[in-house]
Symmetry: C2
């Protein structure tokens, strides 16, 4: 016996067995259908890029989470750790070959050497979509409407798209005299859902004092509805401005599309990232808010300033696929299945092999996913296979059936059988039962 290498994958990496891969593929296909319905186009970029492109020029202090190494040609290279940085590089490089506004989606794997103890994976898929090259209400609204349409299609139950605007928050901080504390205040405010307003109030007081802290708490409190929350924010930020007008106009557009209920003005939403400059959003599922945002994003002024002097404003969002899959499972909307096959042609008699293939071709021509069991085995084994793979129907044609000119269609769930006199008739019965 030769030495065997123990088959195993790296920590933090995963195989996708068919059920899990079909579940993931089904989700991606559904999202993709929504993207296309909104006029978004797909792109792809390399998994491996120059390290200085992905990490910026400060190559020395490279992030420990990034997989990077020197390739055969002596180049410092790295595996992409998100889809935003490659997209920025892509836009800077190709903007003259493209057209603006450019609405793209990208669903692809990224790699991070994360600490796996926190249940994080080192390889996972991201799904980003953006509209670049325009700064307008319609583009902002489109992203909100697309998030909404995508989640509706997934049937995740009721959900809430929380929206706010970094500009209003910044004006409010300036009006309160703490503009220079912006990032630490935002960081605290961002924890509201996790730690509650009392604890946030305590942290704010420690950071900017009791009085301003209380004002911040007032600012981030949600009022009864969109209009009253917006009025309060305007009041505390020193009056109306382009930012509050933008929020009002987005709300009107979303209302025009009949989806106003989904959109909740939530001033505590700030998104940690520095690069958002306009609207920001997060999306939570009403039945399981505790899993956090399944889709977040916002508007930025400069997508690609690292790689070009050209100004590329945009708005976009990112769907948390692993989180969404977990959510679908938690609310029982997961679409796990063993396979796509709709009918299995049993192998009962080797002399019938040629007829089995002919029947299979007939099924497929009728658009039915079909497989021929490829070996004569005990019927119980063939049924067990069908059950394991979730195949709902079987076609049975042995010598006994052939003698009396019959083909049997068997419902593998109910175990009921019906006979037909030709394969065409059997396939007709099958289509009826599948509603096709």
């Amino acid at each position: 016996m030769p030495d065997i290498i123990e088959p195993r994958v790296l920590k933090g990496f995963r195989d996708y067995l068919p059920e899990a891969e079909i579940e993931r593929t089904t989700l991606l296909e559904s999202l993709e259908a929504s993207f296309r319905l909104f006029g978004f186009v797909p792109i792809d970029t390399p998994a491996l890029e120059y390290a200085d492109i992905l990490l910026g020029k400060g190559g020395g202090e490279t992030d420990k989470q990034v997989y990077h190494f020197v390739d055969h040609g002596g180049r410092e290279v790295a595996l992409r750790f998100d889809l935003t940085v490659p997209f920025a590089r892509f836009m800077a490089e190709h903007v003259d070959e493209l057209y603006l506004p450019f609405r793209r989606y990208h669903m692809a794997k990224v790699w991070r050497g994360e600490n796996t103890q926190r249940g994080r994976y080192r390889e996972f898929m991201q799904c980003d979509f953006d509209i670049v090259g325009v700064d307008s209400v319609a583009a902002d609204a489109d992203i909100v409407l697309l998030i909404s349409a995508a989640l509706e299609t997934l049937a995740v139950g009721p959900f809430t798209i929380k929206i706010s605007h970094r500009g209003v928050f910044n004006r409010f901080l300036a009006a309160s005299g703490v503009a220079d504390r912006s990032s630490s205040v935002l960081r605290i405010v961002d924890k509201l859902e996790k730690i509650g307003s009392q604890e946030v109030g305590r942290l704010l007081a420690a950071e900017v004092g009791d009085k301003v802290g209380a004002k911040v708490l007032e600012f981030i409190a949600k009022e009864g509805d969109f209009a009253s929350t917006l009025s309060k924010m305007e009041g505390l930020a020193g009056g109306p401005g382009p930012d509050t007008e933008r929020l009002r106009a987005i709300r009107a557009s979303v209302e025009g599309a009949g989806l106003a209920d989904r959109l909740v003005l939530t001033p505590s939403i700030t998104r940690g990232l520095d690069y958002y400059t306009g609207v920001v959003f997060e999306t939570s599922l009403d039945s399981i808010p505790q899993i956090g945002s399944v889709c977040s994003g916002g508007r930025y002024d400069e997508l690609a300033s690292l790689y070009t002097t050209r100004r590329l404003p945009g708005v976009g969002a990112s769907i948390g696929l692993d989180r969404l899959l977990a959510a679908l499972e938690a609310i029982g909307a997961s679409r796990r299945r063993g396979g796509y096959t709709e009918v299995l042609i049993l192998d009962i008699d080797e002399a019938m092999a040629v007829r089995y293939q002919a029947m299979a071709r007939e099924c497929r021509a009728a658009g039915l996913a079909c497989e021929v069991f490829p070996e004569k085995r005990k019927l119980a084994q063939q049924f067990a296979y069908a059950e394991r793979k979730g195949i709902p129907f079987a076609l049975v044609l042995g010598s006994a059936e052939a003698e009396r000119g019959a083909i049997v269609l068997k419902d593998l769930k109910t175990r009921e059988s019906v006979e037909a006199s030709t394969s065409g008739a059997a396939i007709g019965l099958l289509r009826e039962r599948l509603g096709r």
Copy 2:
């Protein structure tokens, strides 16, 4: 002005702009539909694996083409360079969680530090499909039928699936007394299409002498039809055997499915790889045979012997996606398009923004891919955008139209316009024109 990092990708790596990505995605979706129609299920494996898994235990003499490095945890890791090795590891690791026969497909990226001067890429996609756990006529035939169905769906024009059997070839070599020269003979024979029979004859004579060389040339010559070629092979190989019976039975099954014309017994097909032990096939497009095989594969005895003592025989094939894309382009069957959008709602009047979004929602509810131009720009610019993206129709609603209660549907190819009195009526006209 800050320092700008020049945006660029690594040599041998490619960005996919929307047109190219849509073309590739369309191809993948078509192939996937065929796989599913035949009962195949998808799997996925990590891009990064332990180097010893991918390269075998002789880690010292690692292939220079493989991207490998030491990760943060001191592990020797490598990027997968094909989908066969990870599949072998996958089957060895998960066979008890799966069911046999297992029919899977896997479409994913692989990486090789190839010499790019030969027009090779360092990142490319592979597409493999296999039936593992059974050694039968039906499984072999299924792979042939699937190749055929997939290419039919792609509308690549007439094609030929060349089939042979390693077993017959081996028997023939043994009968000719040169069994020990098998690999060098196979390597020469494999060049037949490239260098012609005269040159192959010369190389064979140098390798095994004039007499045996002439016999090999006779063996690999194609006769008039399947049956006569098979008879000749049987004669030269010492009579019928399980291998020639297998070929005959596969041919009968393929004939039963009405596809006998596609299948040509071609004894010169041997496939270089050592691990094929049964049937082997290659597929060429009749209109451009010079691009070589677009789908090749065969039967093997031991998929995963590096990782398990369990015997896992199987049969499968791999589609050359880059080659197939090039072929589709060469024969004018390429499905390049700028985007998926079917109708663009022009932005003519900012006061109408809300109505635009409402109309867009109506379009999408009718299943039409729709986008709202997100900014008021000159009409010429909006039309140029539509043309660039290949959008066939526009909906026009400005204040003039609104005043007379009209919505204009414009065919962007013919420049013809029709008016409707409601958005619902306009969408009805649009669906008619799109045949939906």
